[in-house]
Amino acid sequence: MKKRWLALLLTGVMALSLTACGGGDKKSEGEGKGGDEGGGQYINTYLAAEPTTMDVSLRSDTYSSEIMMNVMEGLIRIEQRDGKYEVMPGDAESWEVNDEGNVWTFHLGEDRKWNDGEPVTAEQYVYSLQRSADPATGCPNSYFVSPILNYDAVSTGEKPVEELGVKALDEHTLEITLTSPMASFLESTDASIFYPQRKDIVEKYGDQYGAEAANLVYNGPFVLTEWNHNSSLRIEKNDQYWDKDNVDLDYVDYQILKDTTSIANAYDSGQIDFITVSSQEQLQKYEADDSNVLTNISGGTISFQFYNTTDPIMSNVNIRKAFSLGVDIEDMNEIGFSGLREPLYGWIAPALSVDGKSMREVAGDTNKELKEELEASGKTAKDVLIEGMKELGLGDDPSKLDVTYSLAGTDDWYHTFGEYLQQVYKESLGINLKIDFSEWDIFSDNLTNGNYQIGFMAWGAYYNDPYDMLSIHLSDFNQISSNWKNEEYDALCRAGMTEMDPEKRMQNYVDAERILMEDYVACPFATSVSHQFSKSYVHDKYAEYGQDNLYFIHPGWKNVYVEGR
């Protein structure tokens, strides 16, 4: 044992002599390049958890998606050019939609191959979507494919999978028919559930398909070559990739790192090239050092408070109004979210656009306007609250009003946030607010059972269309259990979703959001911002690092190269 300990110490010393010339613990052989060029084209980064599976039909977590977008190619790629979205060819070289807007045709490139040399065909796209729709598969990620004709009937087993609205017209032509027209469908096909799958591979590996690096074939810029569960993954450049000339990196190593302190230590010691920070302290620490480059990605995830409109107290619109307007949103961002998010004044986050135009810009700062209206009428939020209380026959003393605010977390952050809310509402409304802390699962159950009055939550948009966020409040979706029903709102959302004319669509969405905001169903607070630092030798071909990255781009590592490591 003692000897072994010595040996360990020795390996430590040897490792030191290696790291001294490499920076980060890299393999000392097989690197090919090296010397003053700063080593090869590789990136060391991390994932915060183990990906669940690489099975396109069974995955639904963000960690597998991070890997999948690099090792798979879909019909299109959404990338950023000069600060704007650009839909680029993926496996599809071109595409068109019929005049009605419900039949999309994709023309696959004939040079598209899998890493085993097999061609990519339209039939593989059809098979993949059918497999996900098949109830026997148990796919947890049907969100994006439900607009496809007959998806619902197929997923309940009423119709056979062949009835799904996807057809291979020939080897390289794919036709997708939708239940109703949908202008945003093209961008939604960027989702991983649209990736092709090979029937022969699925059948060969059975249950084990997608569970190991070797049990899968890849058609993306990279190939998953190593997957040491719960520990590390490696993706290497795919020689069979149709656009391989535009892929610079030889490989990317992922380490699975969960703990924030450990992540910081790994970044500081040069073990990883990227870090996403979550505190003002860290943000300032890395900003102060020029060897780090900051990239902000913002605009798609929002934090908001929402009301149970069937609760005896919260059913009153004036009381909801008082709670929505009794918060200072700038102050909330400064103190509640320590300046790490951006203030938001409407339900739709800034990233969501219609035909390239941000809806937030068109709709304006709704919440600000509503506040100004209130001030112009010479009333305060407290006056509105008392009005509401009188309407309900609850007297006129806010300090006696019994309101509980539910938070979906029990850690320090939530406790501090809860105290902040109590203080805010004590000052602005004179209310003695109670706070209920519970873990997400319990919180979620309480929402479903209508067992709450006010809740707080974050929600991320799946794809770039305001409908994606507006649909949460549809009467028959009721996804945040606010139990709010409004026929006019439903009609406007659905009209916008199926409208092909961009201007009309925008107007429908803006009108719908207005109804939502003026009925005070939810009060948006902030847009989340992901603050990511990278070492200065990491470059992106199309983005000037340090600028904001658009929220819905998924270029993966395809456009990244290393210089001056």
């Binding site: 790192l257 302190t261 230590n265």
Partner: protein, 309 residues
């Protein structure tokens, strides 16, 4: 003796059955399910298809029977969270990793701890004793995550001699072993010190000294042997701890061990994985208890006499 062993095995089976049953129903009484984190975005049909696939749509008692049947036939099922990975396969893959790190740390920690404990006892109320007790108090009070972070900062960030975290090379073991052995050092130092002081005051030590035995002989032949008895008890539970993995250490150093896995499974309601791991832990613990009793019989004649009756 044979009767005693058979009786013990009978008890083990009953205990295991109880552990498996309680875990099953406790796990199911926690609000939420494997889809809980996505529950708000999923259509009903999608959820129904998913539950049907894993048999979660059956009545709870039927699921319990199915599970118990699997247990008897040593089939622990498949992970719900990680499609296509068998529970027994995952345990077989992760527990040796925990064992390697934890075992190394335990052996090193115990040896150092026992030595320090002896030094402290023999130098009671003199400076070596104070130093050892100071180390012991540190080891018992500093939270593991603080110690781990400190080690990473010193050895990886400042000195650059070891990787900060990771797994796969021998040098990845260094920091986690240091961190994990620290608590063993603290525990054993205190235990051995107190039991040794206890033994030193026994009559037979006085007798041995009166017989004119050298101090070395007194300590090694009489005192030490008797002082190590209580250490056997805690050592057994430490050994189980080795395989169950140290969750915090594994998380901080991203070691793909079983402790890390277990917590992830609980948080994600991965029923099969949690059940399998719990049963695995229980088996280890029960068997270890049995081994300890056996070892006691060997080293302590008084117990042997009692159990033969």
């Amino acid at each position: 003796m044979v009767k005693y062993v058979l009786k013990r095995i009978g008890y083990m089976i009953v205990t295991l059955f109880a552990v498996a049953t309680i875990t099953f129903f406790l796990m199911r009484s926690i609000p939420g399910d494997p889809l809980a984190s996505m529950a708000r975005t999923l259509p009903e049909q999608t959820k129904a298809n998913f539950y049907a696939k894993y048999g979660l749509d059956q009545p709870l008692f039927n699921q319990y029977l199915k599970y118990m049947k699997g247990l008897v036939t040593l089939d622990l099922g498949e992970s719900i969270l990680y499609a296509g990975r068998s529970v027994s396969g995952e345990i077989a893959r992760t527990s040796p990793i925990s064992g390697a790190v934890g075992g190394t740390a335990l052996v090193i920690g115990t040896l150092i701890g026992v030595c320090l404990g002896i030094v402290a006892a023999l130098n009671k109320n003199r400076w070596p004793d104070y130093i050892v007790m100071f180390i012991a108090i540190l080891g018992a009070t500093i939270p593991v995550f603080v110690l781990a972070s400190l080690m990473q900062y010193i050895f990886a960030v400042k000195l650059g001699v070891t990787p900060a975290s990771g797994w796969g090379k021998p040098e990845h073991m260094i920091l986690p072993v240091i961190v994990m052995s620290f608590s063993s050092v603290a525990t054993y130092a205190r235990y051995i010190k107190s039991s040794m002081l206890d033994t030193l005051n026994q009559d037979y030590v006085l007798t041995a000294r009166a017989k004119g035995l050298s101090e070395k002989k007194v300590i090694f032949r009489h005192v030490l042997r008797n002082s190590l008895l209580p250490a056997v008890t805690i050592f057994s539970s430490s050994v189980v701890g080795v395989f169950t993995g140290a969750f915090v250490t594994e998380r901080m150093f991203s070691i793909p061990g079983i402790g890390f896995y277990y917590i992830t499974s609980i948080n994600n309601h991965d029923y099969t994985m949690v059940m399998g791991t719990t049963v695995f832990y229980a088996v280890l613990f029960i068997v270890m208890q049995f081994v300890v009793d056996f070892v006691y019989m060997v080293i302590d004649p008084r117990i042997r006499v009692a159990s033969d009756k």
